[in-house]
């Protein structure tokens, strides 16, 4: 077929997945819905946020929930100059690992910093809650610099 082009067609793959959650995840997501952040205590005493069902080192079932705050520290970050569909913000934003105050591990989310010049490892950020919360990680709309006026 030397001259004819290979045929092509658009293909859309779309799945309406719904996933059941375990008891720790349920507590965390219910907490987010209610504007409360929870972590879980690991076997070695570290507090994990986001919390998981099983200890990442020993695989023991974890059950001790810990109430945490709405602020945290950026442990590393990158800049998203051209946001893609479904990402938390539609204007350029920072991705960051945020260690919520009281936790020993970090949570991945977006920071609405406005400019990469505002971002720095070690900076304080706080949660901007979504207007309508349903029990999802997106109940945290994003984080914002703690120094900025609350939105």
């Amino acid at each position: 077929m030397p001259d004819a082009e290979v045929l092509s067609a658009p293909l859309v793959l779309e799945y309406p997945f719904s996933r059941t959650v375990g008891p720790v995840q349920s507590a965390f997501l219910t907490g987010l819905r209610e504007g409360l952040v929870l972590g879980v205590r690991a076997v070695d005493g570290r507090v994990l946020c986001p919390p998981v069902e099983y200890d990442p080192v020993t695989s023991a079932e974890l059950t001790e929930l810990v109430e945490l705050g709405e602020t945290g520290t950026v442990t590393t970050w990158s800049w998203e100059p051209e946001p893609r569909p479904n990402q938390p913000l539609d204007r350029p934003f920072a991705w960051a690992l945020v260690r919520i105050d009281g936790a020993d591990t970090a949570l991945l989310h977006a920071v609405d910093a406005g400019s990469p010049d505002v971002m720095a490892t070690g900076m304080q950020v706080r949660i901007r809650w979504a207007g309508e919360r349903v029990g999802s990680i997106t109940d945290i709309a994003c984080f914002e610099p703690a120094e900025a006026a609350p939105t």
Binding site: L11, P50, T75, W77, S78, Q87, T105, L108, A110, T138
Partner: protein, 352 residues
């Protein structure tokens, strides 16, 4: 433990977009090449294992069609991993260790061009806490790069040197997608695409395929003069939570390397599957590779990174140098998951 060797390896010419051929058409020449090189036909292959991901094609079980290129009649003993072909190789190696096979065909391919790879790869992330945010693979690479730079593990200058060296090395690799003798200073003038990463710090997106034949002991010696013996192979995985892991080192690579025996005797050549430039530094450190080791003489993943095949290609490139007598002992590495989450290390050696 049985002695198992790589006796044949072939790969396609990796391109940004394979416009004309579908996956089977891409794979067939590579599959035929390895069988022809050792004079084995499919009836003499005891086990076939492939590595790929259907998410690239957007069709469930699409990998099954690649058996059309294998010639699977009479029915063959076959398996598949939804992973890089390096893990298909691991399964084939285990199969041979059990004595259930003496020869194996391993192949892998990735045709990323139909979809948006950055979005596709986001589906491998934690479905509860991370995937709903759709972070793309480059953003995650950038997170790790910044952590490494701020921890003093590497610098943008060192990353640019790695990228430039990779492209220079790839000039001798007819299969590589990106080649050229770029100057690190020129590369550093380019804008950041996902700060702190520049385009050259990121792997090229492309389509490609690779295949390999393994054989045990005397069978390997029958089919080729210089087998590349697998002296050790191991793979380890870290916690899936990005915020739980230490992103400035690669403990799973270190452990896999120890178990594979990397430190036992000096290494000449290392083929490291570091899709992002900063990751080469992490892997070198984890494997304890000194300055005398030639890293990625093929150009590595910064010159060609067909998803799902790039790890198998590292093993194939290392094996090729041993079989040509250019190296005595090599380490090959493959990775899977975001920010070097899972790592496979393989030590290869030629006959004395």
């Amino acid at each position: 433990m049985r002695d198992v060797a790589v006796v044949a390896f072939a790969q396609s010419h990796h391109v940004r977009r394979e416009q004309r051929r579908n996956e089977v058409e891409m794979l067939m020449p590579v599959l035929h090449r390895v069988k022809t090189d050792v004079g084995l036909d499919q009836s003499q292959i005891d086990f076939t294992c492939s590595g790929s991901t259907d998410y690239l094609a957007g069709a469930a079980f699409s990998f099954v069609m690649t058996l059309d290129g294998v010639g699977a009649w009479p029915p063959i003993s076959e398996s598949h991993v939804e992973m890089d072909g390096a893990w298909a190789l691991y399964e084939a190696w285990v199969k041979i260790q059990t004595g259930a096979a003496d020869t194996a065909l391993v192949y892998s391919y990735g045709k990323a061009s139909p979809g948006s790879l950055r979005d596709v790869l986001s589906r491998q992330l934690d479905p509860y806490y991370v995937a709903p945010l759709w972070p793309d693979s480059v953003a995650l690479g950038a997170l790790q790069a910044r952590a490494c730079i701020e921890a003093g593990v590497t610098s943008v200058g060192e990353m640019a040197e790695i990228a430039a060296r990779s492209r220079r090395s790839a000039a001798d690799n007819p299969f590589a997608q990106l080649q050229g003798s770029d100057d690190p200073d020129v590369l550093l003038k380019e804008p950041e695409v996902a700060p702190p990463l520049r385009r050259h710090d990121c792997p090229p997106i492309g389509d490609g395929a690779a295949a390999m034949i393994l054989a045990a002991g005397d069978r390997a010696r029958e089919v080729v003069d210089r087998p590349a013996w697998i002296r050790g192979i191991d793979h380890r995985i870290e916690a899936h939570g990005l915020g739980v892991r230490l992103l400035t080192s690669s403990p799973s690579t270190r452990l896999a390397g120890e178990r594979a025996g990397v430190g036992d005797t000096p290494i000449d050549v290392a083929e490291l599957h570091a899709p992002f430039s900063h990751q080469e530094v992490l892997l070198r450190d984890a494997l304890g590779l000194g300055a005398g080791v030639a890293v990625n003489p093929s150009g590595g993943p910064l010159a060609a990174n067909p998803i799902m095949a790039a790890g198998l290609i590292r093993i194939g490139e290392a094996a090729t140098r041993i079989r040509r007598g250019e190296a005595r002992r090599a380490v090959a590495h493959a990775t899977s998951g975001p920010c070097l989450q899972q790592n496979l290390v393989c030590v290869l050696e030629g006959d004395a």
